[in-house]
Symmetry: C2
Subunit: 160 residues, 2 copies
């Protein structure tokens, strides 16, 4: 790689999402950028997730999640759910999706997903998700990951 | 799904890329939107590809590809490489990446990738790609898939 790989990766377009996970009574939600559509019929999404995170274990065992799309003005939500905190779901309004996954009522729209399977991808794992329901909650443009700068400190995570 | 699933899927942010594939003397290039980063260290990308397309066979057998990022003003390239045509690589300038994959010299930047593996995803397959080289070729903002409207006719591809 002849240049700064972090700068090059910033040219790949990603949105910003809050992923809601549930396993029985345990729930969590976290900010993610690595989400894309992967199939038209059936509609499927893929999410790349760090397997060392608590939410990965809930997704693996609960086998469902919500993918909540943040709007361009919702940087506060991206920051809030990007932090590690025991009670970060408190103070926000949640709906229960058909799968049981928690849906962030403030988001632009959500996809309710069942986990199909995981596949390995370096320091992350790709969760392949079957969309079982989806709903628009408000109108407006989606947030782009490029808006968030280095909010998540990811420039430190690349190889030397 | 209580609403038009095509409209909901348009809220997921994707870029626009030209994917260059090679197997021996056979090369091809096609426009794709379903590309994302999936790992920091090592740097890896994922591409969701229709397994019925000719380029899928070249990727499967040649086991390498370039992911060329289009800039916001390069709609002509997105349209050109989105068509099926026998000679669509002619009339454009190509470099040979380290893996041997063809790189589109007009693009903003490229990632040169080795195929790690495929995984199933509905009517597509996800190619998990290890980045072995990457280079910035010009400056400017990346094209967003949302700019392209229904250029690819994808609204017809969703379930009823």
């Amino acid at each position: 790689m002849s240049e700064n790989i972090a700068d090059l990766c910033r040219l790949i377009s990603h949105g910003v999402y809050v992923i809601g996970v549930r396993d029985g009574e345990k729930t969590n939600a976290f900010t993610a950028a690595w989400v894309m559509q992967v199939s038209f019929d059936p509609v499927m999404l893929a999410l790349s997730i760090n397997p060392e995170h608590y939410s990965y274990r809930l997704l693996e065992s609960g086998r469902c999640c919500s993918v909540n799309i943040l709007g361009r003005e919702q940087m506060n939500l991206a920051e809030h759910f990007g932090r590690s905190a025991a009670d970060k779901m408190a103070g926000h309004s949640w709906q229960k999706a058909r799968t049981g996954a928690p849906v962030l009522s403030e988001s632009l729209a959500y996809f309710d997903c069942e986990l199909s399977h995981f596949t390995d991808a370096g320091d992350h794992r790709i969760a392949v998700l079957s969309v079982v329901d989806a709903e628009m909650l408000r109108s407006g443009p989606s947030m782009l990951y490029s808006q968030t700068g280095d909010m998540d400190g990811s420039s430190e995570l690349y190889p030397e």
